[in-house]
């Protein structure tokens, strides 16, 4: 069985340690939510697992299907089945979503193998129908001049097309109004039915009303300090993060 295993992960930016001994195993089909106050290392965790060059992994390992991915380039990790939905997706002027995804699909094929254009568009359109995205959307340049909601929908469409084994979703709810949030959550829920495992990073419990997680973990000071089910998110909502901070301080006293 294919697992995403994060083992005792330590991550630094420059000399500064951000993530300090993070452990988590995600099975196919599971949705794990990571919550926590700002600056606690949630986004760092997602980007480092995806291979961002600014982050240094100083200790620990990340295994995908039993194989370490740490020596791989970001694109190799992606082709192995990992997907990062960005908090702030980049704009790529002049490159349409259709062409971008086509290049990404082509990159997954063996050398010399040619992409079947009609098959590709058929699949693209069926995914767009599934996510209720207008056909005209894919002729626009990737994220170029997009609203916050459009950028997140673009991320979900890419995720649907590339069919990863595991998705890291970084603050997918940030910058979305309630309507946009619902649309994006519907998209994720549609993709959830299969074997896709999701690590859902969020600051607010609000998103978890729409995407109901199997597990909730509270991250603080670079590691998981508390784990539970959906009710933990509600408890956090009621008590605030100060409660976690105090508990953490007491435990370390």
């Amino acid at each position: 069985m294919s697992l995403l295993e994060i083992k005792n992960l330590h991550i630094s930016i420059g000399d500064k340690a951000i993530v300090k001994g993070f452990n988590l195993t995600i099975k196919p089909g599971e949705v794990h939510a990571i919550m926590g106050p700002n600056g606690t290392g949630k986004s760092t965790l997602a980007k480092a697992i995806a291979g961002h060059p600014s982050y240094t992994i100083t200790e620990g390992d990340v295994l995908l299907g039993g194989k370490s991915i740490l020596a791989m380039q970001p694109d190799e990790r992606a082709r192995s089945g990992l997907f990062l939905a960005f908090q702030y997706p980049s704009e790529i002027p002049g490159v349409s979503i259709a062409n971008f995804l086509r290049a990404a699909v082509q990159a997954r094929m063996a050398e010399g193998e040619e992409l079947d254009a009609s098959g590709y568009y058929k699949k693209l359109y069926s995914k767009m129908d599934l996510l209720k995205i207008d056909r005209k959307f894919t002729s626009r340049a990737v994220n170029d001049g997009f609203s916050g909601g459009e950028k997140k929908r673009c991320e979900i469409l890419q995720m649907a097309m590339l069919e990863p084994h595991f998705a890291l979703m970084d603050e997918t709810d940030s910058g979305l109004d309630i309507d946009a949030l619902r649309i994006v959550a519907d998209g994720v829920n549609t993709l959830r039915s299969g074997p896709l495992g999701i690590l859902l990073i969020t600051h607010y419990q609000r998103l978890l009303d729409y995407i109901v997680p199997d597990f909730v973990h509270v991250m603080y000071d670079g590691r998981i300090v508390k784990s539970g089910n959906k009710s933990l998110a509600l408890e956090l909502e009621a008590k605030g993060y100060d409660w976690v901070k105090q508990e953490f301080a007491a435990a370390n006293a």
Partner: protein, 479 residues
């Protein structure tokens, strides 16, 4: 110098040179040349070239005068770059050929030369979408052919040597008129030692449906290629001319210094497309200019990839009322390269319009410069110019400069100028990599996106070729 004999194109045994690279044009085969002007430049060099070509006395005179102008003119290094000072004119070979008469079929082309062009895909392209092809190998065309249907319309498409010999009445009338010998040091050098290049004449009202293509190939080391192209579209005629260039990567530098003159008579249209992919040891110093008469249109599409230093500013003199001039330019400067490119628009009649869109990409230590001149004098009215310069930087060491000189006098003319600089950031590359694209694929996609709106205006075959060259270039820029 090789003694001049009557042997024309003696075939030579071919042995491929070591270090052949499958990418781009970086390969060369050993070729025995029947004609060789030796190394260095003197009056004797010029006389050798002229006598090999059996030229009329006025041409030799023209050449010798140009040589003197060349020696007299200072190097234009003060304003662009000091790198020109590294050219040693006495270490260059000025004329190399297997013979003067180009073959009309590929079967007749000597094997060693033919396989070069086959490898570059020229015969295949000719079959697919071209009205005529001239393939120049070092100093002379090895192959030249025009489809019967085009020739029957009275279209002339030959190399410059043949043009001078067979059609002196047309040639002489326009030759050196658009770009005088003394225009700059390198136009003077070309005027002294020119060889090869195309001569095209399209009779009144004839619209050539498919493009004519010339391919310029440098094969020899320490070589200077000095082709001379003259294109005349008579009243109401239309023609599209495309040129491609490559050279292998030698450790020593190579010089390419062409002069291209275009004349669009009343109501005529000329489109001149360049996709060059020089190796990074080539000094590419080219003068290109056209004159557009009443209601005529000249459009330069200029894609500069590769070379060590390119200095090229295609221009249009808008001589007749309502004439239109356009330059669409793309320059890609990779590590160790300097693309100093731009455009010149000289408005010389009322209601003339010009449009310049220049996009440059600088990668690594590459440097690109846009240099433009737009001149609209005070006495004119109803003239319009639009200039857009966009630069894309890939990584922090790249450098880009824009020097637009727009002089518009009087208040009855309109210009607009826009410039932008954007950057391919590490985050943008990471974003694309996280979708499964390699770093090179990501950079290539970013570059193609940047030039997309311009490349869409190119003929399909050329935008495909451009994309392929960018892919290769980006491939090479990733360590």
């Amino acid at each position: 110098m090789k003694p001049i004999t009557e042997i024309d194109g003696a075939p030579a045994s071919a042995s491929p040179v070591v270090g052949i690279d499958q990418t781009a044009g970086n390969f060369s085969y050993k070729v025995d040349y029947a004609f060789d002007a030796g190394t260095g430049l003197s009056e004797d060099t010029v006389r050798y070239i002229s006598s090999v070509k059996k030229e009329a006395p006025w041409i030799l005179e023209f050449r010798l005068k140009a040589l003197k102008t060349f020696w007299d003119k200072p190097m234009p290094t003060h304003w662009a770059t000091k790198d020109l000072e590294n050219i040693d004119f006495q270490k260059i070979r000025y004329y190399l050929s297997q013979g003067q008469k180009p073959k009309r079929t590929w079967d007749e082309v000597p094997d060693d030369i033919k396989k070069t062009f086959e490898r570059l895909g020229i015969p295949e392209q000719e079959r697919k979408f071209l009205a005529g092809v001239e393939a120049q190998f070092d100093s002379e065309a090895a192959y030249s052919n025009i489809k019967d249907i085009v020739a029957k319309q009275g279209v002339i498409f030959v190399n410059s040597t043949e043009g001078l010999r067979e059609h002196p009445e047309i040639f002489k009338k326009f030759f050196g008129k658009v770009i005088p010998t003394g225009d700059n040091k390198f136009s003077a050098l070309n005027s002294a030692v020119f060889s090869g290049g195309s001569f095209i004449y399209v009779p009144p009202g004839v619209k050539v449906a498919q493009p004519l293509q010339a391919y310029f190939r440098i094969n020899a080391e320490n070589f200077g290629q000095f082709e001379r192209t003259l294109i005349i579209a008579d009243e109401g005629a239309e023609v599209v001319y495309m040129e491609g260039c490559t050279a292998p990567k030698f450790s020593t530098s190579t010089l390419h210094s062409a002069v291209v003159e275009l004349v669009a008579l009343k109501g005529a249209k000329i489109q001149y497309i360049t996709v060059q992919n020089w190796a990074n040891n080539v000094f590419n110093l080219v003068t290109k200019r056209g004159v557009a008469h009443e209601d005529a249109e000249i459009k330069w599409i200029d894609c500069n990839i590769g070379s060590r230093l390119t200095m090229k500013y295609p221009g249009v003199v808008l001589k007749g009322e309502r004439a239109r001039g356009e330059v669409l330019s793309i320059a890609l400067a990779n590590d160790g390269q300097h693309q100093d490119t731009g455009a010149k628009m000289v408005h010389a009649a009322n209601n003339t319009t010009s449009n310049i869109i220049a996009k440059s990409i600088s990668v690594g230590q590459g440097r690109s410069t846009y240099r433009g001149v737009v001149h609209i004098p005070k006495h004119l009215k109803g003239c319009k110019n639009n200039t857009e310069c966009d630069a894309l930087l890939i990584n922090t060491n790249s450098r880009t400069d824009t020097y637009p000189a727009i002089s518009v006098r009087g208040d009855r003319n309109a210009t607009q100028h826009e410039a932008s600089v954007s950057k391919v950031s590490e985050d943008m590359i990471f974003y694309m990599q996280s979708r499964g694209l390699t770093e090179a694929q990501a950079m290539s996609l970013a570059v193609n996106g940047f030039i997309n709106d311009l490349a869409r205006q190119f003929p399909m075959e050329y935008s495909v070729e451009l994309k392929r060259l960018i892919d290769l270039e980006m491939e090479g820029s990733v360590g």
